[in-house]
Subunit: 542 residues, 2 copies
Amino acid sequence: MINFQTSPDHYRHWKLQVSGSVATLSMDVQEDETLAEGYKLKLNSYDLGVDIELADAVQRLRFEHPEVRAVVITSLKPRIFCAGANIYMLGTSSHTFKVNFCKFTNETRCAIEDDSRHSGRRYIAALNGTASGGGYELAIACDEIYLVDDGNSAVSLPEVPLLGVLPGTGGLTRLVDKRKVRRDRADVFSTLAEGLKGKRAKEWGLIDDSFPTSKFQDSVNARVQEAVRISTPKAPGIKLNPLKVEESDDSRNYKYVKLNLEREQRYADLTIHGPGATPPTRLEEIEKLGDAYWPLRAYRELDDALLHLRVNEPLIGLVCLHTEGNAADVLAVDTTLANNRDHWLVREILAHMARVLRRLDLTAKSFFALVEPGSCFAGNLLELLLASDRSYMLNSPDAAQASVYVSALNGGELPMSNGLTRLLSRFLANPESVDEVLQHRGPLTTEEAERAGLITFAPDDLDWEDEIRVAIEERTSLSPDALTGMEASLRFAGPETMETKIYGRLTAWQNWIFQRPNAVGEKGALTNYGKPTQAQFDYKRT
Amino acid sequence: MINFQTSPDHYRHWKLQVSGSVATLSMDVQEDETLAEGYKLKLNSYDLGVDIELADAVQRLRFEHPEVRAVVITSLKPRIFCAGANIYMLGTSSHTFKVNFCKFTNETRCAIEDDSRHSGRRYIAALNGTASGGGYELAIACDEIYLVDDGNSAVSLPEVPLLGVLPGTGGLTRLVDKRKVRRDRADVFSTLAEGLKGKRAKEWGLIDDSFPTSKFQDSVNARVQEAVRISTPKAPGIKLNPLKVEESDDSRNYKYVKLNLEREQRYADLTIHGPGATPPTRLEEIEKLGDAYWPLRAYRELDDALLHLRVNEPLIGLVCLHTEGNAADVLAVDTTLANNRDHWLVREILAHMARVLRRLDLTAKSFFALVEPGSCFAGNLLELLLASDRSYMLNSPDAAQASVYVSALNGGELPMSNGLTRLLSRFLANPESVDEVLQHRGPLTTEEAERAGLITFAPDDLDWEDEIRVAIEERTSLSPDALTGMEASLRFAGPETMETKIYGRLTAWQNWIFQRPNAVGEKGALTNYGKPTQAQFDYKRT
């Protein structure tokens, strides 16, 4: 089982060093410390374990070190920054694992950009040696890229010429859409196994500058000092403690999140509990609570549960989302967050919630939201319902009623990858509905929620159990691949962003190529990499 | 060999009837008239041959019947509008063919939308029976959809539940992005094999209205009369005659377009010749020339050559684009077209050129433009260079010089699928360069073109031959699949449209699913459709 929790004390491949307003993240991959057998992580190449540490470091900086304004990403290995994803690891992994690996590493790079955009931390890639493949893709996720000019070091995307696959971590999209490299130059660069060095790399916009070895450190430092000139009030930060989780064969229980697996039927029940006690309203109380504060803790738990489901439970095809608790408490949290959205910690908490919800949007499993009496699909938790492929709400006018609630957070703090709120994405046909829904105060009954377009089906008491059972059975009987493609197509209507391009277009092409015989067949390029045998292609163009 | 040329006299599956300002396109597929062996086109299901006729009809209407303002698409079969792409044809086709088949049918549907958008013809789908799968996808490409309410007829996308693949012709994207169906409803609809009938289909926005059988014809007619109320001056139209082509084993020569295949090296030389004589400047002359007018004829020939390369020459991986002729003549054509862009025929010619260039953008082969003395990469033909993955321009300051030229048409009349001009897509990093280039008068020498960012490489006389030879060898040695994915990613930077979503995101997912064992494996759903055996899935979610 792959564990997504770690902390700097446990890092094996990265060193995180914080000095005043500058953090340095140094890659020093230990070649034998792999997640699986059968490969060595030479030349700072990485597997999922290396990236889990990087993701943790980026997250931790935001909460534990708000004083940091610039993050330098560099390597402790001489002459090599990073050789990208380990080819032998890819060659020996299942298709499912490869796809999930790429998705996670994409999310880590998007998290770097999210930090830069929302919290203004400047990421500086200090390439003290060659950055190839995923190594250059990590650099290109940073705000600035500096390459040592030692006559040898280059940046490259050798996947197409050497491996017959695509750069899997957003490289092609970021080349033309982020760095806006001219497409013909991007074409040349992406087919050039050896890549480009300092002068031409700069001229083509692949890096921001290059410096001779003797001046590299000083030049990067000067750039870092520039980036941290805008000083910010020093805040102490809060500690992200390890999540506590009780595991059994078919369950995973955190404090606020409970996951129950119905393996035979290939679905899971995932329940998020509300705060459970009156949540604090003052910033000092929140800072004191730190990572015990409900919206941070609950969403960290949800994040871990989603990652667990993705990687460790591939046979679970459907997740039924439930909530339990007092809607008023959830709404009180939202009010506090909305009122203090300019405070650094609240901003980080909101950005984290948004990232976790996007992780859900991008999870290749079906989600059904089930709204029953006692649930609290309110405000931020209503986003779970809006993120679901469908929602079912019990219609029981005579007994205890189910309700859903809207809060200010549904109006913009928790955007999807396409840049829109989930409400706007839902009501593209009638955007005026968004305002109507947002202006609603108090509970929406089943009838009101249905009229407002928030739920898909509203079975009554008599039908509820049967209808849900049949819906689950039907969903889990369908082709898992067709569902993945269908959901990826239906979840992101409206505008596209670099992020949706990466997860939608690029990922789909990569998935395609990752199972083509020309890549993974007996004679494929990925299979034969590093072997005395040569790849042999079926040259039919598709 | 598949022939893409046809005309109404030769249609086997469609009837095209024009009466005043209304055209009726009736589908009546002959089940034995298939393009290949092994399947029957029952229930108005289609193969590529059926769609070639539809594409011809849509194109022909624009040129031959400018008086038509509304096009009714319906069926001559009782109780069935269209059952979509033939499953047995898909089941017995190669992956490469399936992908190219879907691309062409997508282009035909986009051509319908292009006609509606640019020439204002209203497309009305009169569903006199069930429209399932590709049948509903054809309807959703129309402006309006009316369904007979006979207690039986439905619209449906049964691909996911029945076949384990995606609707392959833009259906999912158009559901949520064109008709803006709520995503949870789109989810339900796309997993419901039997689809939805009149009332709910209308409520969910899948159709515009439904009428009982007895009133169906009258109600549709009333809608058609509404659509044609805005009368336009009657123009006589021009005839699209069959293209003449001389074929040999390794060449295909039209009047203005010559295609030479280097099969051993897996590349082709494609040369477009300029007008060859001083082109006309007056509208009457152009109308009189009709389809002999250079920009129409040359681009029709180019279109046919591209389709031929795609479907009949899958092993050709690279196309070297050449032009030959007098740049002044090409520029004179552009001036005439730009000055008369509001005239119906000129508008149609420009829209056609734009569609052909987009066909090139979307062709899964590499394109290199080669600029030498005697070439005429000028104005509209410069778009070929801008559409190429790379361009090489001979640098021979002492001898006859190569030049390229810009015209008004490069400024907006020939947009890519992403809605931008190719110049804007090229210069996303420095959009001010676009204006600079557009303002340039006269020839751009190699040096000037290189400085302006128009070309990739400028080898001199001594290096030219070797450099081109090596570039061709290198390109054609790479994995054809990796190149397809890379080119699809690099060609469309910048904004996304419904069209780029369909060709980029949806197509890539479809391609992926089209080779998953769950679809096409021995136990896959597509393989087992209509057989007594049942599909068996590997339920791992990817």
